[in-house]
């Protein structure tokens, strides 16, 4: 089994070589721009920027779209709710509910925002190795006064890294479980309640037991969150800062 969900794709592209802090900040800039954009034209411009970044990264578009697939149901639900629950000029009726033109526009813009966000996040994880990601997050969080609350930046970075790391693992476990239940005749379309129960109960148990296994494995290898060295020490160079500046200007011009 092999999943493309938020996978790291090893490579030597310009994006792969950038400092992780720059890429994480750029992701934040992109997120702000995406949420500030309010027209299809602005969205199309952001999509164009994304496409150029994808070309620079040499990451296959399938890797990015592979991350979108599991979210399709969620996106479809958001779109449907917006379509039917927004007031305005009616387009058609379904079970007593009116789909409106305004709902269509609002729903399309909303799911486009989510799609763009997921695509940028997927590009970030595809071009940044997990260890670099952890190191980057840790360096960014270090100036925060989190120690006053009993949490070190190392703890926070490790938590974030593990959360990211667990997404594809849990997705693979889910696929495995789904295959098992489908083999016993489960048809999610015919009986969604049974599907939800038969998949969620073992899935929650697997998630808890995997988390416990990781915690025990880390503790047995002397993990302590106070201070840890890093295998790859990120180096912030002039070209990293210039790249971030350039990206921020482009995104500002776009919206």
């Amino acid at each position: 089994m092999s999943t493309l969900l938020f996978r790291y794709v090893p490579g030597n592209s310009f994006l792969h070589m950038l400092d992780p802090r720059v890429k994480i900040t750029a992701m934040l800039v992109a997120s702000i721009s995406i949420f500030m954009s309010s027209t299809f034209r602005e969205m199309a411009a952001i999509l164009l920027v994304f496409y150029l970044l994808l070309l620079i990264s040499s990451v296959s578009p399938r890797v990015v779209f592979g991350s979108l697939r599991p979210m399709l149901i969620f996106l479809a639900l958001i779109f449907t709710l917006q379509l039917f629950l927004t007031g305005g000029d009616p387009l058609f009726s379904l079970m007593g509910l009116d789909a409106t033109y305004q709902g269509l526009v609002k729903g399309s813009l909303l799911i486009l925002r989510f799609i763009l966000l997921l695509m940028f996040a997927s590009l970030l994880t595809a071009t940044t190795s997990p260890s670099m990601m952890t190191a980057g997050i840790e360096r960014m969080l270090r100036p925060l006064p989190s120690r006053k609350f009993g949490i070190s930046s190392f703890d926070l970075a490790t938590m974030m890294f593990l959360s990211l790391h667990f997404v594809p693992l849990l997705y693979e476990s889910f696929n495995h479980l789904r295959d098992s239940q489908i083999s016993r005749g489960l048809d999610a379309k015919k009986n969604p309640a049974r599907a939800l129960y038969s998949l969620s109960v073992p899935m929650i148990r697997t998630a808890f037991s995997s988390a416990e296994d990781v915690a025990v494995a880390m503790e047995s290898r002397c993990y302590q969150g106070h201070h840890r060295s890093s295998l790859h020490e990120p180096q912030l160079r002039k070209k990293d800062l210039l790249s971030l500046l350039f990206f921020a200007i482009v995104m500002l011009l776009v919206i």
């Binding site: 890797v63 239940q181 489960l186 038969s198």
Partner: protein, 279 residues
């Protein structure tokens, strides 16, 4: 009637830098009532291959048919029962009965029919009726696996496919499971076992297939497998072959210790063997 795999090719993540060929021109045929072993190193494509048997995966090219039907047809799912690695992770029912009734309910059976199927599965595996009221999560590792198998058997499959069924089991539970599989096979159910370590079940198998990096490199009987020379053999078979090459009059195609004991006893004569270990 049988499972027929013809020139199957399968690739994960095609068209990406993460593309990986899992199966290459694989062709095989599994007859009704057979006990088949599919071996190969980890990552050789075994699990990918069996996922084609009930349409969970569809080949990039080639064809898989089950009793003449395309494996992707929904009807095939009730014929080909599949049990994946770590089956205890799939358990979710409050009781064993509820767990076992899941499959029959999905296939549209009702009240008394479901009960009949559940009891059929419990009986077939020698699990008492008392177990049906217990929580499957409170059972021992070996029992959990048997309950997971019973969950598949309750759908009355004609083919039972098991992915690494012995991994993580102790000797006692291994022998329990092997006996159960032997029993199921004698009841006419076709058994297909996938394992990177075929030694535990060679003595039961009618046919052995070996995959190497997605290619089928061996197909033959266990005796032919033992004579192949470059495929991994059970320690006991190696010992018997070594004895044979050193001039002892013993068979080389022996795969379990009980049979080896009997063979050595025959060679030495009954008076020479003491402290019998045969169970």
């Amino acid at each position: 009637m049988s499972i027929v795999v013809r020139d199957v090719n399968f690739r994960y993540n095609p068209g990406t830098s993460l593309e990986r060929t899992a199966l290459e021109d694989v062709s095989l045929s599994i007859g009704r009532g057979e006990f088949v072993l599919i071996g190969g190193a980890i990552g050789s494509g075994k699990s990918t291959l069996i996922r084609h048997f009930n349409g969970l995966l569809r080949p990039c090219s080639g064809q898989v048919t089950v009793d003449g039907m395309q494996a992707s047809e929904k009807k095939v799912r009730s014929r080909v029962g599949m049990l994946f690695q770590f089956p205890r992770q799939q358990l979710f029912g409050r009781t064993v009965f509820e767990e076992l009734a899941f499959g029959p309910k999905n296939f549209g059976l009702r009240g008394p029919e479901i009960e009949k199927q559940v009891h059929y599965a419990l009986e077939l595996l020698g699990l008492g009726k008392d177990i049906s009221a217990e929580s499957p999560l409170r059972l021992s590792g070996g029992q959990k696996r048997l309950v997971a198998i019973a969950g598949v058997l309750a759908c009355r499959p004609e083919y039972l496919v098991l992915d690494e069924p012995l991994s993580g089991l102790d000797a006692e539970n291994k022998s329990l499971l092997i006996s159960a599989l032997r029993l199921l096979n004698s009841n006419g159910i076709t058994i297909i076992v996938v394992s990177h370590r075929v030694s535990d079940m060679l003595s039961l198998a009618d046919h052995v297939y070996w995959l190497d990096r997605g290619r089928l490199v061996f197909s033959g009987t266990p005796a032919e497998y033992a004579g192949h020379g470059s495929l991994p053999l059970p320690e006991i078979t190696c010992l018997m072959k070594e004895l044979r090459t050193r001039g002892f009059d013993v068979r080389g195609d022996i795969f379990d210790t009980d049979e080896a004991f009997r063979e050595i006893s025959r060679m030495l004569g009954p008076k020479r063997v003491t402290g019998a270990t045969e169970q």
